[in-house]
């Protein structure tokens, strides 16, 4: 709880409620800075490259990719899992920290949720394109039709995955949106521009902040929060079953679901850290996202990093302990040493070792170091997925079918395109949407003074 002196303040400076709205809404009213246009331009160029790659894939087929019958899953699945992992931060932030009564989440949850929605969009593109004939994607919907066996295979993890991702996208988007409704009403009621009043007024859905609205709003948040918590765990567990139910060496392991879920939250939090450091520096949100907030995310990352390290070592240990020569080969000859050693050690160093620097308070309080480490964690998590997908597939049981995999320019362009789409989405978010949940920050502003009443006898906790 933020009631002790240990954690420090939630908001820097003594701010009145109207100051809170003004300062959070400042980027929406202010003149758009030059760097924004430059960044947007670069993002759109990247996105254009992605669109071109998708066009070539659509017109010429999957043959334009580097995948082959041995390594049938290449960068597309790596990038898919990577983006979905990043997309876990929003719900993890909003839900887990809500359940754990962490009040500091209020400064960050909006950005994390926005990022989630964009990241899941990016992720969904990859399996869609990997279908080969994406215009027939609706074949995965279970509906009565006239094509052979009439139903989809309800036992297939790929179908589960489709369900999980569509549900996750819809739920995180609606959770994000309804969180913003009161803030849109604040913009509607405080802005001087008539156009903004009309547009944000429309999106505010007639919100006025009456007790009837707040009562049901809280009920809705409780229901969505409660069930979306299950989703955080289930989505990436299901993604992991795409791998774990196969018999490929290195994939066929019961460790995969927790390992994937923790990895997803790890990469998501790292991306959140990247974003909030940018928000702090570029938009001067430092009063709301204080050093203490960054510090708290870093502490979580140390903890998750230890779990990641444990998972990596467990995998290696089990490979040896199982006595299976294929497992041994995959881990010791193909990952730790061998042609994919760079990716393996990249993964291990960036995910398990580098974040240990966060044990030091000095590192946690140095924004630039935090920013750089967060980027390295994102890279490390990409290497992890590369490691899992490519090393297991390229050399499995039968040496005659071994094959190498190299991404083509089309695949690289596709990935760059999604990076552009992500940054364009985030830039639009910075520009048009309150970056921090205004009503939630107002709610916690009363806890802002450092309180010591928990020391008094008979004190009861005033949660939320």
């Amino acid at each position: 709880m933020y009631k002790t002196d240990v954690r420090g303040k939630l908001i820097d400076g003594e701010k009145s409620l109207s100051q809170i709205s003004q300062e959070i809404l400042a980027p929406i009213d202010a003149k758009v800075p030059k760097w924004w246009y430059i960044a947007m331009g670069i993002s759109l160029v990247m996105l254009a490259l992605g669109v071109k790659s998708i066009y070539i894939t659509l017109t010429q087929g999957i043959g334009t990719w580097g995948v082959n019958s041995t390594v049938a899953w290449g960068w597309e699945i790596i990038n898919f899992v990577w983006w979905i992992g990043i997309g876990h931060a929003g719900t993890a932030f909003s839900i887990f920290l809500l359940i754990l009564r962490q009040k500091w989440r209020t400064a960050i949850n909006r950005a994390a949720e926005a990022m989630t929605v964009v990241a899941v969009f990016c992720a969904a593109l990859f399996p869609l394109m990997h279908m080969g004939r994406p215009w027939l994607f609706f074949y995965i919907f279970p509906y009565p039709n006239t094509r052979g066996p009439l139903w989809v295979n309800f036992n297939s993890p790929l179908f589960w995955d489709f369900m999980a991702i569509s549900a996750y996208l819809l739920i995180s988007a609606s959770f994000w949106y309804f969180g913003m409704v009161p803030d849109f009403a604040t913009i509607r009621d405080t802005t001087k521009s008539k156009i903004k009043k009309a547009i944000y007024g429309f999106f505010a859905f007639g919100w006025v902040g009456s007790s009837r609205e707040w009562l049901r709003y809280e009920g809705l948040a409780f229901v969505l929060g409660g069930i979306a918590a299950v989703l955080v765990v289930s989505v990436h567990s299901i993604v992991s079953t795409d791998f774990a139910v196969s018999i490929e060496p290195g994939w066929h392991t019961t460790l995969f679901p927790p390992y994937f879920v923790v990895g997803a939250i790890f990469s998501g939090f790292a991306m959140v850290l990247t974003l909030v450091t940018l928000m702090k520096k570029l938009y001067k949100m430092g009063d709301f996202i204080t050093e203490n907030h960054v510090d708290a995310v870093c502490r979580i990352l140390v903890f998750i990093s230890l779990i990641m390290g444990t998972a990596y070592i467990t995998e290696i240990f089990i490979a040896w302990y199982s006595g299976s020569e294929y497992e041994m080969y995959t881990f010791f000859k193909n990952r730790i040493t061998g042609e994919y050693a760079i990716q393996f050690w990249g993964m291990f160093i960036f995910n398990a070792l580098l974040p240990q620097l966060f044990w030091s308070r000095k590192v946690r309080r140095n924004l630039w170091v935090v920013f750089v480490i967060s980027l390295f964690i994102n890279l490390g998590m990409w290497f992890e997925r590369f490691n899992i997908v490519v090393t297991s597939l390229s050399k499995n049981y039968l040496p005659a079918s071994w094959a190498e995999y190299h991404p083509t320019f089309i695949e690289i362009g596709f990935f760059i395109g999604t990076l552009g789409m992500f940054s364009a989405g985030v830039l639009l978010f910075f520009r048009y949407i309150p970056q921090i949940a205004i009503s939630e920050v107002k709610m916690i502003s009363k806890y802002n003074t450092q309180q010591t009443d928990h020391l008094k006898p008979g004190h009861h906790h005033d949660y939320e």
């Binding site: 819809l170 009621d189 009920g219 107002k442």
Partner: protein, 174 residues
Amino acid sequence: MITNRKYLVGVFDDEHTLKDAFQKALDKGVVIEEVYTPYPIHEILHGMKNKTNITTAAFFYGLFAVVMLIGGMYYAAVVDWPLHFGGKPFNTFPSFIVVTIVATILTITILTLFTFSARAKIFPGKKEEIIDIRATDDKFIILLDQDKMGIDKPEVTKLFQANGASEVYEKESN
């Protein structure tokens, strides 16, 4: 809102004075029409004695979804189009669980959102009925209907002002 009602609006600057005045007004038997705040305040939500059954509704949506999903998959796999996979049973129930969980969550979310939208009357295209435009920014508003408040105007004005109201004014709805 019914047209041409006369309201009395009490404006408060912070949560504590609002809660104080709200409680004192309730103790005096004042009938409070509505309270507008920039963020939810539990004492107010509790004191207004409104109840929401949105969580109960969500539970039943979930129950409905579970029955429909398991029933639907059973129908597809056993009744409508059974497939032979080397003598495996048609009803592969344990592997239906995953889809059931995910799709149940999706059903609950969508139906609860619609319930919220209908019950809280928050929907696209709704015209906002603003009493005091500052209520979404930094003011806390208590709204009284002058015909039904069960107390004299001067008395309640005094009560509000004694408990930290920054303004008390009259307003007519149109």
